[in-house]
């Protein structure tokens, strides 16, 4: 799950080296935290949050496969 977010984020930003993804696993829900360079924040959020929403949708599709819930947090 973490890998997928990391891949997507790294492909979207200008400074892929500064992409940090961490996962806090819970029993049923895991929280995935995404950190990017300040200049890249807009790239992962997108116009009206569209890119962030798309990432969350893909994440939830991936989660249903393993009967879990995932929450994506983009950390400023």
């Amino acid at each position: 799950m973490k890998d997928l977010v990391k891949y997507i984020a790294k492909s979207l930003v200008d400074s892929p080296d500064e992409v940090v993804v961490s996962e806090i696993e819970g029993e049923r829900t895991s929280v995935i935290e995404l950190r990017v360079a300040k200049e890249d924040l807009g790239k992962v959020i997108g116009k009206q949050g569209r890119t962030a929403r798309a990432m969350r949708t893909i994440l939830s599709a991936a989660s249903t496969k393993i009967n879990k819930r995932s929450v994506l947090e983009i950390i400023e």
Partner: protein, 215 residues
Amino acid sequence: MDFIETEGKTVEDAIEKACQEFNLSEEMLDIDVISDGAPGLFGFMGTKKAKIKASIKKVEVEDKLELAKKSLERILVGLRTDATVDVKNDGNKILLNINGDGSGVLIGRRGRTLDAMQHIVDKIVNRSLKDRKRIIIDTERYRERRIESLENLALKLGEKVKKLGKPVYITPLNAHDRRIIHMTLQGDDQLATTSKGDGLLRRVVISTKKSRSFS
């Protein structure tokens, strides 16, 4: 169409014509100048037209195709599916078709997952703004089926509006889906369609032409 030759008063004019011909911007074309134009004396004696040869740049396109396919495949791995991807170049569009297990997980409710993947791949492929290629992701002919069901919905609601004489709101749809509703009812001279609301809540309103002119 491998290349075309165009003429114009100046080289710039000729390039512009070529752009219109291909319906592409100048950066996307390879331009060879065959002859520079000459303005001639007083603009009518000895004028010579500029002539150029233009063809579509190829290299970039193949890179984008490859990138689109790779990134979609990577996302599908993340979704734990054994799906394969076919990729096709269609002018300014890249069509990606997923051969999946048919479970519908990749489509999502009203195509949400499909649209999300499409948006992400679009952003990845078009990171550099030049030579923009639209990305269309499909599986199990979902896009086609969706258009069909939207057209049916539009026609059904159109009849309802005529019967009731009152406007009817459709549930919020994305821009692409709204467009299909508008297009379907465009030819009906008794009905008018408009979109109301903002962002995710924007929805199509179907009304009769008469009731609209009063408002």
